[in-house]
Amino acid sequence: MICKDVPDLIQPYTDAELDSDKAAALEAHLRDCQDCNRLVEAERNWQRTVQAGMTRFTASDRLRARLAVALAEADGTEAARPPARTWRPLAMAASLALAIVTSSGLTAYFTLPGEQDRMVDSVVSGHVRSLMAGHLTDIPSSDQHTVKPWFHGRIDLAPPVDDLAAQGYPLIGGRLDYLDRHPAAALVYQHRQHPINLFVVAASPTAGGDDKSGSISSLTERGYNVLHWASGGMAFWAVSDLDLGELKAFARLYQTRSAAPTP
C-alpha cells in the first residue's frame, strides 16, 4: 500500500467498515508511515469529538404518554371490531343510573353521556396500557411524602396521597397520564397482587358546585371494575380487575383517609 491509497480508506477504517484484509494492509502501512498515521488519528479524534458533542435528544414523558394514547385509539378504531361495542350500552345505562342516583349538583356532570362514555373508555384503556407497556409508575415509591410532591408542577392538581398498606392496599407509586385528552394524576395501589389505578382529573367545569357528597358509582367495562366519585373539585376514577367489593372497600378507605384533617 502506498500513501496515496490511504485517504479514501480512512473513514471506512475509522467507521469499522473496512474488510479485514484491507484493514490489515492499512494497519501495516500505518506502522511504517507517521504521516498517514497522523491523518488517521486526526480523523478518529475529530469523529470522537463529534460523537461526544452532538446532542442526543430523547423522547419526553409527554410524548410517550401522548403516543400511547394515540396508538391505543388507533388500535380501537382500526381493528374491525364486532358491531356491538359492548361497553357502550353498559356505560350509557350506567350514566343514566348515575343521573338518577345522584340527586345533588353532580347530576349536571353525569348527564353528559358522551363525556362520561369517553372517560370510562379512557380510564380502562389507561389502566390496560399502564400494565401492558410495563409503565405503571413514573415515580415508584410507597412513600406518600415522595409521591405527593412529585405531582407538583407536573399537573395542576394536588390529589390526596395516602399509603394504605396497613389496610392491605399499599401505595406503589404515581404516574402522569392522559384521559380523554386531559392530564391526569394516576396513583397506583395494589391489593393481593392486583394493581389499582386511581386516576384523578380536574372536575368537569359542567359539574355543579356541590361535589362533597363523594358518593361512589360503579360499572363494569371490558371486564374491569370502574368506580367514580367527585370531591374537592376533583374527579376520581378507580379501576382494577379486583372484584367490586374489594375495589369499593379501597375507594371508601381512600375517601376516609383523604377526608381526615391533615395537620
Binding site: T49, M54, F57, A59, R64, R66, A79
Partner: protein, 180 residues
C-alpha cells in the same frame, strides 16, 4: 383480542426506538413540538402498516418512516427548507481532507459543544441526517443505506462530504483567518 396482541407486538418492536426516532425528527425539524408531532404521526403510520413489517432491523424500519414523515411534514410546513442545496455529493469521491497542522487539530478537538451543534444545525438536511445516523445512532453503512434508500457508495461519499463540510465550518469558526 387479536388487535390487542398487534398493539402489544408493535409496542415491543417500535417503542424501544422512540428516542432514536425523536432524535432524528428533532434534528431534522430543529424544533421540539414539531418533532413530537412528526414522531407521533410516523408511529401511527408505522402501526398502520405494521403488517407489512417483515422482521429485520426494526430501528432502520422506524427511522425510515420517521424520516419520510419528516420530509413530508417539512414540504407541507416549511417548503423553503427543502430547496436543494446545490451540492452534488453523489457518485463523486469526496475530497480527501488535507493534512492539517497539529495545533489546528488540537483546537478542533476543543471545539465548544454548543458551537459544534450549532454548526451541524446549519448544514443542509442530507448532511445533517447522515451525521445523526452515523455519529449518534452508530448505524452501519448498510443500515444507513437502508434508511436513506441509497446505494452504499453514495452513503460513503455523502458521509465523507458531510464530515468535510462540518470540519470546514468548524475550522472557519475556530480560526477565521485560516479559511481557504
Amino acid at each position: 383480542m387479536v388487535e390487542q396482541s398487534r398493539l402489544r407486538r408493535f409496542n415491543e418492536i417500535a417503542v424501544p426506538h422512540l428516542d432514536a426516532a425523536y432524535n432524528l425528527a428533532r434534528w431534522l425539524t430543529r424544533n421540539e413540538n414539531d418533532a413530537e408531532d412528526v414522531v407521533q404521526e410516523a408511529y401511527l403510520r408505522a402501526f398502520k402498516f405494521f403488517d407489512g413489517y417483515r422482521g429485520g432491523d426494526a430501528r432502520a424500519w422506524i427511522l425510515k418512516i420517521v424520516r419520510h414523515t419528516c420530509f413530508t411534514w417539512l414540504a407541507r410546513n416549511r417548503p423553503a427548507e427543502l430547496v436543494p442545496s446545490g451540492d452534488d455529493d453523489d457518485d463523486r469521491a469526496a475530497p480527501a481532507g488535507a493534512p492539517r497542522s497539529d495545533p489546528e487539530t488540537l483546537l478542533l478537538q476543543r471545539l465548544d459543544t454548543e458551537l459544534l451543534n450549532r454548526l451541524i444545525d446549519k448544514l443542509p438536511n442530507p448532511y445533517r441526517e447522515i451525521l445523526v445516523l452515523r455519529e449518534i445512532e452508530d448505524l452501519s453503512y448498510r443500515e444507513i443505506a437502508e434508511v436513506l434508500a441509497l446505494p452504499i457508495g453514495t452513503v460513503m461519499s455523502r458521509l465523507a462530504r458531510a464530515r468535510e463540510r462540518l470540519q470546514r465550518a468548524a475550522r472557519g469558526s475556530v480560526m477565521p483567518r485560516l479559511v481557504r
